[in-house]
């Protein structure tokens, strides 16, 4: 494999394109992926004995999905592919990977992290009830398993995935009770010039809304969620929102909730990426140069660096790999790089439009009632989190986490971290940036203590 060891984490659209660029340069990268089949989440593949074709599974993105899957299959003889393998730490130039009860510390000269994204979730009173799922989770149930998350599903949140997943459910024959968007419609109109950077994607969004309305699904914009009803034994029974001054109730046994996605940046964090606060999306993001360099032989591509979508992930994954190759002293195609950078700029403009049209509902989160649960892992309420600020005088997120345990449960802050920061900021009456950032901790996901070390 030569003297350069390149490790790529993730085999979604960014990781696949990164691997392709590294192989093209004559190197044999190690590609580590937690899933059993390559494709990532958007181009996630069902088990091998499922029969739906790419058109049925991926709709307008079928050709892209097929290209990712086929191109990765063609790479297999040229890469060291490690599926079902969890990267749980990065330290001192080594990636710590776990697979089937064993763990290995693998040294690298370049680490390209394409770790993807997970749902950004706002806690709504009652969201701990069985039957509440992340929007991405609801889509995975259908795409990878052919199931709906319930018999009557309510979609709650904001962003393009809200409409896409709801429309996919309708098309597959599921009953969709309502699509409840916290963003007011006029924001979409205002963001139209930026969204026009990707006219095809804008048009797709318009068609999704039309399909839902034709199917008779109530689509409400500018809603204020009040409560997800249900009981501890039986789970979800409905959702209540305020809309145009009226209280509206929708009965259902499942809720798919999400407000865009956010980078899974834990591995980048452990690999010592620098983070900066992004006021537009109200979150901390790992910093890179335009190509994806994050310093210390670390390169970031795809939505794991910044959420620009699956199409852009192919661009930024390849760019990150080209940056790594250039830094290793290999020649890269300057024209190709320029073209990729221009593409990335278009996706970035479109993403700004999406953030403007479908904002994270931070005022709603900050005003969540005291008895609502913020941490669904350990059932910690907003009152307990606020008390860590008012009574225990926590000044920032990590301290409040230590006092309240919000961010310390099994999801390790993935689904409460952003909300927790908003609640702390409001309780202290300071800017969100001043509440700081939850530090990443190894292991990034729970691992068994019985892992056996097996280094190469």
């Amino acid at each position: 494999m030569g003297e350069h060891r390149v490790i790529i984490v993730g085999a979604g659209p960014a990781g696949v394109r990164a691997a392709q660029a590294v192989v093209r340069a004559g190197l044999r990268p190690i590609v580590i992926d937690e899933a059993s089949r390559a494709g990532g989440q958007i181009y996630r593949r069902p088990p091998e004995n499922f029969k739906r074709d790419h058109e049925a599974l991926y709709g307008t993105e079928a050709a892209r999905a097929r290209a990712i899957h086929e191109d990765f299959a063609a790479l297999l003889p040229h890469i060291d592919y490690r599926p079902e393998t969890l990267v749980w730490n990065v330290a001192e130039g080594h990636v710590w990977a776990a697979h089937e009860g064993e763990t290995q510390a693998i040294p690298y000269n370049a680490l390209i992290v394409c770790s993807g994204a997970s749902d950004r979730v706002a806690p709504i009173k009652g969201w701990q009830a069985a039957g509440c799922y992340s929007l991405g989770g609801a889509q995975i149930a259908l795409k990878a398993q052919g199931c709906a998350i319930g018999h009557r599903v309510i979609f709650l949140g904001s962003g393009p995935l809200l409409y896409l997943a709801a429309a996919q459910y309708v098309k597959a024959g599921a009953e969709v009770a309502a699509v409840l968007d916290t963003s007011p419609f006029w924001l979409r109109v205002k963001a139209a010039p930026k969204l026009a950077a990707m006219p095809e994607l804008l048009w797709q969004g318009v068609k999704l809304l039309r399909d839902l309305k034709r199917a008779g699904v109530p689509v409400l914009t500018g809603v204020t969620p009040v409560e997800i009803e249900g009981d501890p034994q039986n789970g979800v029974s409905g959702v209540t929102v305020r809309h145009k001054g009226a209280v509206r109730h929708f009965a259902g046994d499942a809720v798919a909730m999400g407000w865009h996605v956010k980078p899974e940046a834990q591995i980048a964090d452990l690999a010592r990426a620098t983070f900066a606060f992004d006021p537009a999306t109200r979150q901390w993001l790992p910093q890179t140069d335009a190509d994806g360099r994050a310093g210390n032989a670390l390169y970031l591509g795809g939505d794991g660096a910044r959420v620009l979508g699956a199409r852009s992930a192919e661009v930024t994954g390849e760019l990150a790999a080209m940056a790594a190759l250039a830094d290793l002293g290999l020649t890269v195609d300057a024209d190709r790089r320029r073209w990729l950078l221009a593409e990335k700029a278009n996706y970035a403009t479109f993403a700004k439009g999406l953030a403007q049209a479908f904002p994270w509902p931070h005022e709603l989160v900050a005003a969540i009632p005291d008895d609502a649960i913020v941490c669904r892992c350990e059932a910690v309420t907003a009152a307990a989190l606020r008390a860590s600020v008012s009574t225990a005088h926590a000044q920032e997120a990590n301290r409040a986490k230590a006092f309240s345990r919000v961010g310390m449960g099994r999801c390790q802050g993935r689904y409460c971290g952003h909300a927790s920061a908003e609640i702390i900021a409001a309780a202290r009456a300071v800017s969100l940036e001043k509440t700081g950032r939850l530090r990443g901790q190894a292991p990034v996901k729970p691992i068994p203590v019985s892992l056996k070390r097996n280094d190469i």
Binding site: N49, A130, P232, A383, Y415
Partner: protein, 112 residues
């Protein structure tokens, strides 16, 4: 028991049998353990935490059925008969599996 998930497509797959809390059920080859369990029931486990504030009379804040389906939230932990923990959303179901929705009793050294 009521099924939480509803199968919409891809239903012509061979059946597999498993046991959940001592009850024998049927799922389909290719199901995740989560789908196998939630097409035969409405929850995966019971939360081991009670709501922190205000003081909750219940010992648990309720039953859980997973959340993210992508291996990120860890809400879908279930246990094998031998006590191994499985993430139901990313574990393929296998014929003859024996699953418990309650964590088998841990044995701690008595140092009192």
């Amino acid at each position: 028991m009521t099924a939480r998930f509803r199968r919409l497509v891809e239903t012509d797959r061979p059946p597999v049998s498993l046991t959940i809390d001592g009850v024998s059920v049927t799922a389909l080859l290719g199901d995740t353990l989560m789908v196998a369990m939630l097409t035969n029931g409405d929850a995966l486990r019971t939360s081991e935490f009670a709501a922190s504030e205000p003081a909750a009379p219940e010992p648990s804040d309720g039953r859980r059925a997973g959340f993210c389906l992508m291996g990120a939230c860890q809400d879908c932990w279930v246990w094998t008969a031998s006590g191994a923990r499985l993430r139901a959303c990313s574990t393929p179901v296998q014929n003859g599996m024996t699953i418990s929705t309650r964590q088998p009793e841990a044995t701690w050294a008595n140092i009192a």
